[in-house]
């Protein structure tokens, strides 16, 4: 296929680019003019400049492309102006959808998130694509922007645009330059995770997440949503596996969820005051995701997209650790320790 990946310098975007290139597709990927392209330029895609708020520019880069992967997004990890952030996310998606229509793109694949899937109903143990999120979750900024983005795309699907929505769970793997979900790995290795909250999450390997994108483009049904998931775990179990791989002690205080909200606010204020770019110990997005997290059922993606069984979580963690280590995010371990 002739593909265009929007957000080709981001974590998800770069993994999708790499999977498409490896599968022999013809790939263009967008960057913003000032983006760090140290990694993106080596992946075998042609990099083109595009901004979501430049509709004509988007049409230009989409022309002649068959499938557009929408991996670019306004991604607020916390918010001081909730409505403005949601609106910004919504206009970004609308702009991409309009451009895709104008450019005659055949299919658009939206990278959404598991944040748009709610708790299991009807006595089921696992959530699936039919479970709506709770009103409480929809008041969290990350959940709200993802929901708005999906609504925008599904509206276009209702008007005849061929769209498929993919909902990945927490992604761990290579090319995570900003250490998103992988902040747990980096923080644990430096002993900088003084507290955490526990809860249910699902973790997917970045390579499997990327393969799910390719499968969604090739086999997804128009107008459908698909969960892209790996392993159902608790955060504590996940942290224990990481600590074991890194051979570091797990000194992290489990705090109750009701305390995490106020603590996160204080921590954000501390970061805002010191203004040296330091990151909160607990990201608001992470707290919200865990608080409203659940275990998920991947059977729709298995049967319709043909997703394979996930690799063992320890293998995924090891791959991510080696990447972070190679690029200076983790202290270098002894070769035996690093399983080199």
């Amino acid at each position: 296929m002739k593909a265009l990946v929007l957000g080709g310098t981001g974590f998800v975007g770069m993994n999708v680019v790499r999977a498409l290139v490896r599968a022999g597709h013809d790939v263009h990927a967008t960057r913003r003019i000032r983006d760090n392209t140290l990694f993106a330029r080596k992946l075998g895609a042609k990099l083109v400049v595009a901004e979501l708020d430049d509709p004509d520019g988007l049409v230009e880069v989409m022309r002649g492309r068959e499938v557009v992967f929408m991996c670019a997004a306004h991604y607020p990890r916390y918010s001081i102006d909730f409505d403005a952030d949601v609106e910004l996310a919504r206009t970004g998606v609308r702009s991409a959808v309009d451009a895709a229509l104008r450019a005659g793109v055949q299919r658009l694949v939206l990278t959404s998130s598991i944040a748009t899937v709610g708790p299991p109903r009807q006595g089921r143990a696992l959530s699936n694509e039919t479970d709506p999120i709770t009103p409480a979750a929809s008041r969290c900024i990350y959940h709200a922007v993802k929901l708005a983005a999906e609504q925008e795309v599904l509206k276009a699907a209702g008007q005849g645009m061929d769209c498929v929505v993919l909902c990945p769970t927490g992604i761990i793997g290579e090319l995570d330059i900003k250490a998103g979900t992988g902040f747990i790995v980096v923080a644990l290795s430096h002993g900088k995770l003084p507290f955490h909250i526990d809860g249910r999450q699902n973790i997917i390997d970045a390579d499997e997440m990327a393969a799910a994108h390719v499968a969604a483009a090739e086999r997804g049904r128009a107008g459908e949503r698909y969960i892209a998931a790996g392993h159902n775990v608790t955060i504590r179990e996940f942290m224990e596996l990481i600590a074991e791989e890194l051979a570091v002690p797990l000194h992290s205080w489990r705090i109750p969820t009701w305390l995490a909200g106020p603590l996160t606010t204080l921590d954000e204020m501390r970061c805002a005051v010191v203004q040296n770019g330091s990151r909160p110990f607990l990201a608001r997005e992470f707290v919200d995701m865990v608080h409203h997290g659940q275990w998920v059922d991947r059977s729709k993606s298995v049967s319709e997209l043909g997703l394979k069984d996930p690799a063992p979580l320890t293998a995924t963690i090891r791959k991510a650790c080696l990447w972070y280590e190679r690029h200076g995010y983790l202290k270098r371990r002894e070769p035996a320790q690093a399983h080199a």
């Binding site: 000032r34 983006d35 760090n36 140290l38 330059i177 690029h327 200076g328 995010y329």
Partner: protein
């Protein structure tokens, strides 16, 4: 690619640092450390190296960049590549 003078690279590096950290008004010295003295975190440093290597169309292995700590290191790293 024609040889580029270290001074020219030095000016370019300074321009990019000022763009990334506009609040930093002080003089930038070769001995300044990117993180401790100029307040560039590792993402900023990658942005700097991405911008200069793009400007001079040189390819680098990201792993090599871990040795680059000061403004002078950036300039000599690029000067060697462009010599």
């Amino acid at each position: 690619m024609p040889r580029v003078e270290p001074q020219q690279i030095r000016n370019e590096v300074e321009t990019i640092i000022r763009r990334i950290r506009p609040e930093n008004k002080a003089e930038i010295r070769n001995s300044d450390r990117l993180r401790e003295d100029l307040g560039l975190d590792s993402l900023h440093s990658m942005e700097l190296l991405s911008a200069v290597t793009e400007k001079y169309e040189v390819d680098v292995d990201v792993e090599q960049l871990q040795e680059v700590r000061t403004v002078g290191d950036v300039v000599s790293f690029l000067s060697k590549l462009l010599a």
